[in-house]
């Protein structure tokens, strides 16, 4: 029952995308949107993913919202600090090896995505929970594994995917 409700919510979200792209709220468009959303979800489950779509991309809206707001703030904060670096000409970079506290695969991917979206840091590689991050020399959000372990604020948010 719970799975059916979640699937229905996804179909409604995809139908919303369909209506926006077609710029119409006509009944025929709603029906077409519902049909194609259901078919897309079915094909994704059957042919594109090894896991179930809901299992692979299951994330609570509250966690997603918190993640998006925090990411938005961080993008601008890092953006301004990057401007100062450009003006001062500070171009020294380093590569950090960072072991994340997150065990969920989707959470690790979202963390890697957030790191690359934040100006001044780019994820170079991901090997299980170990991430290699390219960052400016004074970047201290992510501590190298040799300097001791601490969870970044991103991880504190994304850890709630599991709970």
């Amino acid at each position: 029952m719970k799975k059916m409700v979640r699937t229905l919510v996804l179909i409604l979200i995809f139908t919303g995308f369909w209506l926006i792209l077609n710029e119409s709220l006509a009944f025929s468009q709603i029906l077409t949107g519902l049909f194609f959303s259901a078919v897309a979800l079915l094909f994704t489950n059957r042919y594109l993913l090894e896991d179930d779509y809901l299992g692979a991309y299951g994330i609570k809206p509250k966690v997603l919202f918190h993640y998006a707001v925090y990411l938005f703030v961080q993008i601008y904060r890092s953006g301004f600090s990057a401007i100062i670096k450009i003006i001062k000409g500070e171009d020294a970079v380093k590569i950090i090896e960072y072991e994340t506290c997150i065990s969920n695969e989707l959470g690790i991917c979202l963390l890697a995505n957030a790191i690359t979206l934040t100006p001044g840091t780019v994820t170079i590689s991901k090997n299980g929970r170990l991430l290699q991050i390219l960052a400016f020399q004074d970047e201290n959000t992510f501590t190298d594994i040799t300097e001791g372990k601490s969870c970044s604020p991103y991880e504190m948010i994304l850890r709630r995917i599991d709970s």
Partner: protein
């Protein structure tokens, strides 16, 4: 007034992008350049899109812009990641191109 805010945001975005381009020329190392180009992509793009949404008002166009922003925010890091990763795996050293 709303239009003014939108134009202000678009101007700020263009300033961000211009500073990013300055950074690309100012920095000589490949890795610092890629960090700066990622800044142009995210901060500049996000700000300019917010400006366009405000300028469009509540319309299908605004919703399409938001959808495009969402898609770019999901896919944008992939290109930066792929370029940085390929350079790293090719053995390109940090500060290789920096000035002495």
């Amino acid at each position: 007034m709303i239009d003014l805010l939108a134009y202000l945001l678009i101007t700020i975005a263009l300033i961000f992008m211009a500073l990013g381009v300055v950074g690309l020329f100012r920095f000589k190392d490949f890795y610092s350049r890629i960090l700066i180009s990622a800044k142009i992509e995210t901060v500049g793009f996000l700000t300019i899109m917010i400006g366009f949404v405000i300028l469009s008002g509540f319309s299908y166009a605004a919703m399409k812009i938001l959808l495009i922003t969402l898609m770019v925010m999901i896919t944008n890091p992939l290109s930066t990641h792929a370029i940085a990763r390929s350079a790293f795996l090719s053995g390109y050293a940090i500060n290789q191109g920096s000035r002495p």
